[in-house]
Amino acid sequence: MSDSIILDLPPFALFFIGAFVLLFLRGKTGSTIASIITVAVPIVSFIGLLQWQHGSFNEYQLLGLELTLIKIDKLSLLFAYIFHLAALIGCIYALHEKDRVQQIASLAYAGSAIGAVFAGDWITLFIFWELLALTSVFLILARRTEASYLSSMRYLIIQVLSGVLLFAGALMLIHQTGSATIRALDLNTASFSLDDLAIWLIFIAYGIKCGFPFFHNWITDAYPQATPTGTVFLCAITTKVAVYALARSFAGADMLVTIGLIMACFPIFFAVIENDLRRVLAYSMINQIGFMLCGIGIGTEMAVNGAVATAFNHVIYKGLLMMSMGAVLYRVGHVDGSHLGGLYKSMPKTTIFSIVGAASISAFPLFSGFVSKSIIMLEMIHSGHTVGWLLLLFAAAGVFHHAGIKIPFFAFFAHDSGLRVKEAPTNMLVAMGIGSAVCIYIGCSPALLYSILPYPIDYSPYDVSHVVTQLQLLFFSALAFVWLNLKGLYPPELRSTNLDIEWFYRRLFPQVWTLVVRGAGCFSHCFKLGGVNIVNGLIRFAEKYSEPPAVLARGWGVNSMLLALLSLMIVVLVFNYL
């Protein structure tokens, strides 16, 4: 009987019920119960989810439109599974945290994400889209620092802007077609005219949420500012909902391949020069989303499979890396690469988990990244994008470089910073352990993952060419890292016999490299500075006229009120007598 009650509830309902119950829990027993609820909700909800069949449910009418609360197919199920898994891991990871605001926000946030992937129409999607923004912002605010407050406000504005654009686009689309059902939109034939404005609006709304270039700043701005536990949720959910939405409506849009390639490549430069290791991960996240977008942009069944499989794996391994950095942040108090190092002595287990995450994101054979990323690469070359394939190769090498080596190396090895801290709390270790287990399990036996992909798949990642290509890539990338490192430390040690080539890689390449790094730094700086200046200017302008003693905000004297009246009267008269 209880089963059927759970079954009758929409899949996301338990999360909201849980969050609601948490509102009323007080005291010590209350916080124990709260912890139990946060862990139990994803599990119970997941069991409930397994009973749902494909199809449309809970259709309702709102404002004269036929809306579908729940529409289930393989694609949405896959994302729902992963959000459940991420919520479970995140909740376990956050068990030591007694901050009720974060617990409530996390549950409601995961619930909104699940609601969004099951939404069958634009309006429902919009509602959950905005809920995502509203619930997740508390995870940033909960850090309770001035910087995180400012960051969260910027985050909120951008997220809500995305929602507003989605809403505007959805309204136009509903206006044009009369139906609110979410469907595939053809971006390739969309023109820059008013007729297709709706498609562009929705595309940009999705794009903001998944961090298209120039819209990506919120990721690198907000994620490093969130609480250690909050980031784990943030990096699993928001962008993945956007990836889902793009896969649903824009599969096969050529533009996505270009955007995906840009996203896969440009963050590498930023990630290499960034010192805050959680921000490095944020950049690496953009890079990973780039891979997924390439897959969606290619649009073949196989490529979409690859994209969503990457999304699935990415949630786990990026979560794992974020968790390991969160553990460091929790114990050390900061994650600046320059002031860490040698932590493997005091946090050995965290180190191991971090390495598993790093191996997975770098797509080492036998780790989860390998079984999904290679599908996209393969499809890239099958669909004739040779340049694209080369760029992806570069990106893949870059991933290994900054996420696979830089993160564990600077945090746990490198020079010993003398930091001696305790190992991460048990619950964090358990969460990371689950994440690592999933990474390795999927990497070794991908059949389970392949069986839940939206399209039938016949692909074996473990053949000679895949493994060899990948290993070559990884080793050369590792070589580059070692070389650059040594170059910085012991220049005279690195002599070579071949002068031309030596000049090539010891003079020209370092110069180009410095230029690129400097350029990237400068560009990022200008971009930030310009944006900040414009925004500050606007705020100052508004402040000048709106702060309490200023002209718009004070109580006017009778004279000025009458003056305003007089001018209004003149305007009215002019118009009336025209």
């Binding site: 919009f126 809500v160 709106s546 905000a553 009458l562 209004l568």
Partner: protein
């Protein structure tokens, strides 16, 4: 004879007669009781009237049996019936709330004056809405305005309250005299004061200069009364310094009633064709409305006093209503009416919540409200729900309003306005977000540590949550408000019956 035939007259006469009764009784509790009992009757009358006209009928009640256009006529269609219900319900809840709230604000020997003024104000507001006679509108306008000046002047901070009331008095009197002048010109041109009759006569007299002058005067007069940008500046001080119950009552009703008169005159009496096509009313109003909702939302962001913040947000919301109405389409008018109704409930609830907070805190500075969600969970969460509704978050009444506003704008091809409305919602997020942030994430400030801050008294919370529940309900099941508003709009646009 059906029992309810004299409800229209009773609706006005009862509070009007009860007002002097309060003066005679001179007892703080009994005058409150009289006001509440009368108000309950008024709620029942207005609901009964609404039920009579809800399927599109019109009640025309002739006072004293003098047939229109000679006598004064009460003209009740869906639009004013629904507004009467809104006004009486808001007045009722604010009255319940006032019982506790004025203890901190008004000297006990003035309580009976407070309720006298309240009843007169209620009479005036209902009278403006119910009457079908143009001159009668002016009379009731003065009744409500004069009693309102008095109510505002009763505020706690005497000097500022008096000054605010005085400013309001100046602007209000200018507005009222403009309206009177306008009506006078119309009378001169047509020889009648009955609105329906005026509408018939004005069709012939369209080109007359007298009518044009009358039109201009009425326009300006009504704009002052509805506090549209740039003649809004009487409003923030009045809202800030009035007793909190009065602010709640005023915010839900006063400007809304002026907007109603606006609709009645320009769509009903003059006809939308004349007002908007010939006299270009939309061309004047639309820019003012847009500048209004943008500028005032921005100003609201920077306020440090929560009541002033809400006051500016009110002016911004009036901008939305005027933007909707200025489209002069049926959908636009319906959107305007929906927003009038929804916003009335939301704003009253918000001001009551703020009143509760100030009652316990003794301050209405936002900076003093740190950690309020823990200290006054019920009040603070009510405020947050109301605030979300103000932003227009889905599942709240505010969403329904914005939805219809945006749809109406798109239907008439005003894409730019739809986008601007959505953009300005971002500002609402900022000013409400700022408060929520203080409520949930700031610590209690030093100067508030000593104060004994606890949950507001039950008698204040009940009206607050009643209003919040109404606004959430209308957000989830929007069809009641929407259906009525659409009917009202189609009646209004269809001209006289």
């Amino acid at each position: 004879m059906p029992y309810n035939i004299h409800f229209p007259a009773l609706l006005i006469v009862l509070p009007l007669m009860a007002a002097p009764l309060c003066v005679i009784v001179r007892h703080s509790f009994f005058s409150w009781l009289i006001a509440v009992v009368v108000n309950i009757c008024v709620v029942l009358f207005s609901v009964s009237l609404l039920l009579q006209v809800i399927d599109g009928d019109v009640i025309r009640y002739t006072l004293g049996g003098w047939a229109a256009p000679t006598g004064i006529e009460y003209y009740i269609d869906t639009l004013n019936a629904v507004l009467m219900v809104v006004i009486s319900i808001i007045s009722f809840f604010s009255l319940i709330y006032s019982k506790a709230s004025i203890q901190a604000e008004i000297a006990p020997q003035r309580y009976y004056l407070f309720y006298t003024g309240w009843l007169l104000c209620l009479t005036g507001l209902l009278g403006i809405v119910i009457t079908g006679d143009a001159f009668n509108v002016f009379v009731f306008l003065e009744i409500s305005s004069l009693s309102m000046y008095m109510l505002i002047a009763l505020g706690k901070e005497r000097k500022q309250a008096l000054l605010a009331a005085f400013r309001y008095l100046i602007m209000g009197s200018v507005g009222a005299s403009f309206i009177l002048l306008g009506i006078g010109f119309l009378y001169a041109a047509t020889g009648t004061l009955n609105m329906s009759d005026l509408a018939l006569h004005l069709v012939d007299a369209d080109q007359s200069r007298t009518v044009i002058v009358g039109f201009s005067f009425i326009t300006v007069g009504l704009l002052i009364k509805s506090a549209i940008f740039p003649v809004y500046s009487w409003l923030p001080n009045a809202y800030q310094y009035a007793p909190s119950a009065v602010t709640a009552f005023l915010a839900g009703t006063a400007t809304k009633v002026s907007l109603y008169v606006f609709l009645r005159f320009f769509f009903h009496v003059f006809g939308s064709e004349y007002s908007f096509a010939e006299m270009l009313l939309g061309k004047i109003l639309m820019p003012l409305a847009i500048v209004g909702f943008f500028a005032m939302s921005i100003v609201a962001i920077f306020q440090t006093d929560i009541r002033r913040l809400l006051a500016y947000s009110s002016i911004a919301q009036i901008g939305y209503m005027f933007a909707a109405v200025s489209m002069a389409t049926e959908a636009g008018v319906a959107a305007g009416v929906i927003h009038i109704i929804n916003h009335a409930f939301i704003k009253t609830a918000l001001f009551i919540a703020v009143g509760c907070i100030a009652y316990r805190l003794g301050s209405s500075r936002i900076a003093d409200m740190g950690n309020l969600i823990a200290l006054m969970p019920w009040t603070a969460s009510a405020f947050i729900i109301g605030g979300l509704s103000l932003i227009g978050v889905p599942l709240t009444a505010g969403f329904v309003s914005k939805w219809y506003l945006v749809t109406a704008a798109i239907d008439s091809g005003w894409w730019s306005i739809a986008i601007m409305v959505l953009l300005s919602s971002l500002m609402a997020i900022m000013y409400i977000g700022k408060i929520i942030e203080v409520f949930c994430f700031r610590k209690t400030t030093e100067n508030m540590k000593g104060a004994d801050v606890k949950e507001a008294p039950l008698f204040m919370l009940i009206p607050l949550w009643a209003l919040i529940i109404i606004s959430v309900y209308t957000g989830i099941n929007g069809s009641i408000v929407v259906g009525t508003a659409e009917l009202a709009a189609s009646q209004l646009m269809g001209g006289m019956l």
